[in-house]
Symmetry: D2
Subunit: 296 residues, 4 copies
């Protein structure tokens, strides 16, 4: 809905691609590059920036400055989950709760950030055997399904099967079956804080999954959907007043015909909650002292 385009950061671990020629043959410039291209292809002008970041970069390419200019982050990782810096994870976590969108792909299910958001182990059943995955839509009105057929096939994929140890998704969008008879909740939408999260399981590195049109469309739709909640100009996120009602004195209960003469909601003076913090800053910690307000 915002006229300004989404600012997307595509994070790729980019280690398999460097270490395994078979993977590099499929993704010569890294999976992140292919994923970013798919997002650009579908979002066009609706994305003002689609940048990439990788594990080997300083701070994994996710400095405070970069995150501050990111509306949606996508995440593909696998081998180096445990080597991802805890401070970076903390920073991503905070920003998601404040409204940044997150799209987690495939083996990202075991990433620190996804496990932290879920609160569970996020383990699943798996088997690498190049099997057929059939992806079914179970929530056909969901924006993430827009333009997709009700079912599509990924010819060769790693099997991911239930039980997938996650909280019940706020909205279950896709379920996959595999040649072996397994099933998997392959498209799961979550809301945490003000942020939205979408997990999409297809994407093993040894198969050209991110070149497949339907997969690219799912990811692009997911970027749009998690990005719908961008940073609102709210006192909650701009001035350190995470919990101070934004109601200006006296006008909140106004109706058009009968402007009120006295405020009925008064935010009491809140020490240590000065609004001097510049609007662009996102508070790192909600200030409990700001949580006190009294209705008159």
């Amino acid at each position: 809905m915002d006229k300004a385009g989404l600012r997307v950061t595509v994070w790729g671990e980019n280690l398999h691609e460097q270490q395994d020629p078979a993977v590099r043959a499929i993704y010569p410039d890294g999976m992140h590059t292919t994923i970013a291209a798919g997002i650009r292809q579908h979002l066009g002008a609706d994305a003002s920036v689609v940048r990439t970041a990788t594990f080997d970069q300083p701070q994994h390419g996710l400095s405070e400055a970069i995150l501050a200019e990111t509306d949606v982050l996508t995440w593909w990782g696998h081998k180096a989950h445990n080597r991802v810096d805890d401070g970076v994870v903390e920073r991503i976590h905070e920003r998601i709760l404040l409204g940044m969108g997150l799209v987690v792909l495939h083996s990202g299910h075991e990433s620190k950030i996804f496990r932290r958001l879920m609160g569970t182990t996020c383990v699943l059943r798996w088997r690498e055997a190049g099997e057929r995955e059939v992806v079914w839509t179970v929530s056909p009105g969901h924006p993430i399904t827009r333009g997709l057929p009700e079912v599509f096939i990924i010819p060769e994929q790693e099997m991911y099967g239930e039980h997938f140890d996650i909280p019940q998704p706020d909205e279950l969008v896709f379920i996959s079956s595999f040649s072996g008879g397994e099933v998997f909740r392959s498209g799961c939408a979550f809301r945490r804080g003000r942020g939205r999260i979408f997990y999409f399981s297809p994407g093993h590195e040894t198969h050209p999954v991110y070149h497949q049109p339907e997969v690219r469309l799912v990811i692009a739709n997911a970027v749009r959907w998690v990005g719908t909640v961008s940073f609102q100009p709210s006192s909650r996120i701009n001035g350190g007043h995470l919990f101070r009602p934004r109601i200006a004195e006296g006008h909140s209960h106004t109706n058009e015909n009968n402007p009120p003469t006295t405020p009925t909601l008064i935010a009491a003076p809140v020490p240590n909650c000065s609004p001097s913090t510049p609007p662009s800053r996102i508070p790192s910690v909600p200030d409990a002292a700001c949580a006190t307000v009294r209705l008159a």
Copy 2:
């Protein structure tokens, strides 16, 4: 938790069994008899009554008196959905909202009572080809999964596939796959009013599904689970006072040490809401006049 056993009514349409020798060979006494036997087998003394009722009986065997003595109703129907009496459906619906449990089986997904509770078409994809169904648990802590393996196989079943047009279940318990690659949300738990509903899809009449141990255990567990909310001795359901707080004058805000001297919650006199209705009667219509209450 109640010491008194559950009173279960197993409803079977019982038409295929009469009309189709192949079905009768599998269920000589009707599917309902087999289903009831499985419930008795597992619930033992926890069920005080497990009776059956069928389409051909007066009022389909579901008179007001029978329903008044039913804590859990199970439902298998198919051919005669449209011939089920609307008044009986209305009566079942009311009683579920007041706390009776409902277990809907297989083709019961298109029954009047299930569609009415769901508010959607409840249609699905299907194919009769005797295919293998694999039933996976996706909510392993749910009481309905107790004693079951994480996955079990039904050797031959009718395929039921997504999209299944239901509201998102309050809890998704099982997902099935089929030989053709389809998936289906085969075990779905819902809460409506004070009642609980469980839909379980296995059970085509031409396969011996209700003789299979795992299926029998699922149904027995489901009967227990939907039956957990039996009729509470509450003013809401016994005396026509659906909305009159049950707090007796003066003791609701009592704490052990400081018994109050004055009531702080007062139910205003409510005209036309006389408590003279005998406690055993379940009100057929919530009385709007009873909805007015004032906190002092």
Copy 3:
């Protein structure tokens, strides 16, 4: 996301306004006119049409032609719930399941269409005493909260209190408190079929609630949100093939680098499911015969 603007139909019962001078004084042209003005004010060019319809019009102003050109319907009714034509309700229900958005306001909680969609009684506790309602956001990232303060006050309102007999909302957005100490889930989002539904409780006819800026913004945001799922060009809704996969022969499993030479998903010929039905027609009944499809 669609470039074409939303087509909104604002339905108002418009009986209180004709019969009660006190209501007419607040809404001289009917509540529907005020509600429509608020939607136009906020949506601007994002709504291509904002029309109104009322109870007294033929077919209540909701002919098949009008509904076919409606992406979002808003509903305010009270006195005449039982006199709304069942055929019109059926038509609205079908269209919602196919993707039309619905915003139900205040006493619309007992309308036929809302009760049908919910499957419950939708009754609640109420009291007409012109009390203060405080509306709190509990889902701050939800698009319906965009631009709103975390809390706002409606100076005088009818009290609506729990228990509100609805299924658990798919997303709970607002909770209100009232002077008497009651609480109410005042903003509830549901998904049914491909459609989205939002219930928003403020709006008693004897108070100028629909003139209040925050209320108007909530309704406009809700119209946008339920309207996000407009009619997709899908075989499911255009050609009568509600369940025939839309995958064209052979290309669904294509990836960019390795075009397939043989289709792996084949839609079997489906008798009685001719695609000749013109694309603009919305099927009134899903055709079970179309539900059979086989993965090769």
Copy 4:
């Protein structure tokens, strides 16, 4: 449903009671003792053990041995959240995901264990002013509401208000209002892994809340409800085979009448997943090597 009684551990921080005479006057033996007494009072023989544990004890009284004999843990903490040992938190977290129930009370919303399970900040709005809290049931069929009135009053409480930064509860049971006009989701049920969690907000240390009959009943009901999922004799939790299907060779697809002659589900030999681990041991980490299984 299990015949063996629940083993309950009531954890109390027990610092306010030692340091603040006003608190000690209300809870001379500590809040944990009062809470434990309420649970014993209501559960009777349904609880085989109700023990207590406090912050000052070694390992906070929550050694591996104690947790191994705990089916339900209740948690009240406030001042020392950050001083709770991370290893103990880790141990509790694991055990909850395996099926132990958790009841979190009042200021426990900011405990390490609750925040870890939720994945969000769990912050809220608050004010200490001894205000009236009115607790409304919004899920009247839920077992936790059994025996309670639809609404009850806590005469004096600390205000807890929205927005409460938690994931949407799997089931919302209570909503409270406060004298100041605030609302709060005061009874929230969650499922994580195989475990159940219930958060109940009443209970500020300077008010005699845990002496109040309704509050004691809520907590006792909650203990029962989260304790319903006790440790099942499953291969997933007893032998290290978290993901190995428990289906014995050949009998899973058996039906009573037609014993199969060949197994259709075969668990492949799984290296490093020896079932020699004694059944009483709960695996600390799911073994990925055990996740591979193939359906024949």
